[in-house]
Symmetry: C2
Subunit: 339 residues, 2 copies
């Protein structure tokens, strides 16, 4: 393709249930012109994240849906190739929210410059970016783990879960992770240093989780829902806190869910155990905690107390398949498309 073409992936149709490749369409378009205060970006890396499933649906959510024919949204690391703003010059590497495309115009005010000497620039999409901040803000503000308490998180090999467990341990709590398959479980225990890890494919997952949490669960960082919730629920302690940042297991579901109705039992436990359930989107906390997060997380990475893992897939054209796999837990670490 010519360097004067913008390659992009748009939403072709809304998925019913599990997304398919037919819901996406690869297009060529003209490179956008930039106006005063803007820069032209060449995208280097695109972040793929579970929230993207929500944007593909028309259902009401915390953010507007992507329209049919619009470029799929997403966080990106990009190189400035043309600038009409004094704060940026060609060659600068920036964090932007440019979506699934090779080039984009962006307002300078919406960019954050990255210094490749500080950390690999891809970390701005993962451990030092939105997923890491989701873990940090949700765990510390809502979860509030105390020394000796037990923190449970699913998708523990992923960018949010792995940070949740490692930050919990930094705060003196026990970290119990749930992950899919022996390879991920070993990584969670050995590299991320969780105190225990359970394979969610284990037929006795609930029993194993109970055994790994002999003092119950004080914080359940909810990012998946589904059958992990069912295993966690009876183990929750009085005054347990449940930050809810994702429900990947039910993103592809639609229509009514079959009974029995678990809502009355949930509310009974909320009451009898004084539980706190709190949904959140990380941007709620960005203004107050973003700078502290970047400083603190960078120091934890530097001193080795937080590790991270990236899963880099080559080529924008592979993004649809990669996102479909992400929703099924096929990625292993922070999923990033390298353009």
């Amino acid at each position: 393709m010519s360097q004067f073409e913008n390659t992009r992936i748009v939403l072709a149709s809304r998925p019913e249930g599990r997304p398919t490749p037919q819901n996406f369409r690869l297009e060529q378009a003209a490179i956008p012109a930039i106006s005063e205060g803007q820069v032209l970006l060449k995208i280097l890396y695109l972040s793929l994240d579970p929230y993207m499933r929500g944007r593909m649906s028309a259902a009401k959510s915390y953010a507007a849906a992507t329209e049919i024919g619009q470029v799929m949204e997403g966080g990106t690391v990009a190189e400035v190739i043309e600038s009409r703003d004094p704060a940026f010059k060609p060659g600068d590497i920036v964090l932007s929210y440019s979506g699934w495309q090779s080039h984009a115009a962006a307002s300078a005010a919406q960019l954050r410059k990255l210094d490749p000497a500080n950390a690999p620039v891809t970390t701005a999409l993962g451990v030092l970016g939105m997923p890491g901040f989701t873990a940090y803000a949700g765990l510390l503000t809502i979860g509030q783990p105390k020394p000796g308490e037990t923190v449970v998180v699913a998708a523990a090999s992923g960018p949010v879960g792995s940070a949740v467990g490692q930050i919990a341990r930094i705060k003196g709590a026990r970290a119990v992770g749930i992950a899919g398959g022996p390879e991920k479980c070993a990584f969670v225990r050995e590299t991320f240093g969780f105190d225990a890890v359970i394979d969610h494919r284990d037929p006795d997952m609930a029993g194993k989780l109970a055994a790994a949490c002999p003092n119950g669960i004080d914080v359940y960082f909810e990012n998946v829902g589904g059958h992990v919730w069912d295993a966690v629920f009876p183990l929750l302690n009085t005054f347990a806190r449940i930050p809810v940042c994702g429900l990947v297991a039910q993103y592809n579901a639609s229509g009514e869910f079959p009974g029995p109705d678990r809502l009355p039992m949930l509310m009974r436990e909320v009451l009898s155990k004084s539980l706190t359930i709190r949904g959140f989107i990380q941007r709620e906390f960005v203004a107050a905690q973003g700078p502290a997060f970047r400083k603190e997380m960078a120091s934890w990475i530097a001193d080795g107390s937080v590790k991270y893992k990236e899963d880099v897939v080559q080529g924008l054209e592979n993004a649809p398949e990669a996102l479909i796999g992400l929703l099924e837990g096929k990625n292993f670490g922070k999923l990033i498309i390298k353009l």
Copy 2:
């Protein structure tokens, strides 16, 4: 009966579903002897409250169940008739937790002296007692109503609901109440001064509630559950707070609830609207907020900004029927047994 006999009501059997008079048994027993540091009490008033249904069941809850044959628990206002503690003398009126009986021994340390000159002593069981404090602590600590926000509470003619709405208005919020029947609704609007009130028996309750909350609901103080929840749920605003202190509508239920399963939809809304659901028992907040509550509530009663209503039933023998009625919303105001 002789003045040397203690009349008491014990739990005869555990209810399955709705309690019946057969679950209770009236007994005579000896007046207890008191030891050093104790007083002998003659009970004047017994508080009946929804939580008592929970104590009748063996199901795990925040408090131990009452054993079969044990005196039913409950808050009481009593007169000291004999004292072996220097802090109390015969004739003193105290708040105690003596249960469904005419006489009781109590440790002086567990009593609080009441001054009848300050307020009618029955208010220590209602607006100035546990129900009023439940409203105060739950609404202010968890609900955190801001000026102009909309606060919804059910059982609005009851001791908790009426205080929730009136405190919400003191804090500058709109108070929307839900109550059963025209008489209670009129009282909620006219005497308690709510901005709007909905009859939960209205076939279009959900539609009326939506009309009464044109800007959505910011705080739903949950004390009933059931179909009120279903009407409230779609109206919740982003960042809405839901203190949960009771679920009267489901206390008599047992076994599984028929589908569809509403839990996944609840969690989806928790996530997409950043909802806070927080169960609580008032005693969690007593040490920190009890003194401030008593002072502030007394001043609100004195200046007329908080009104209260009591529903006084004569005779301990009528307590079982009164409690059964309470669980069906038959009381009108704070239910108190006068012995």
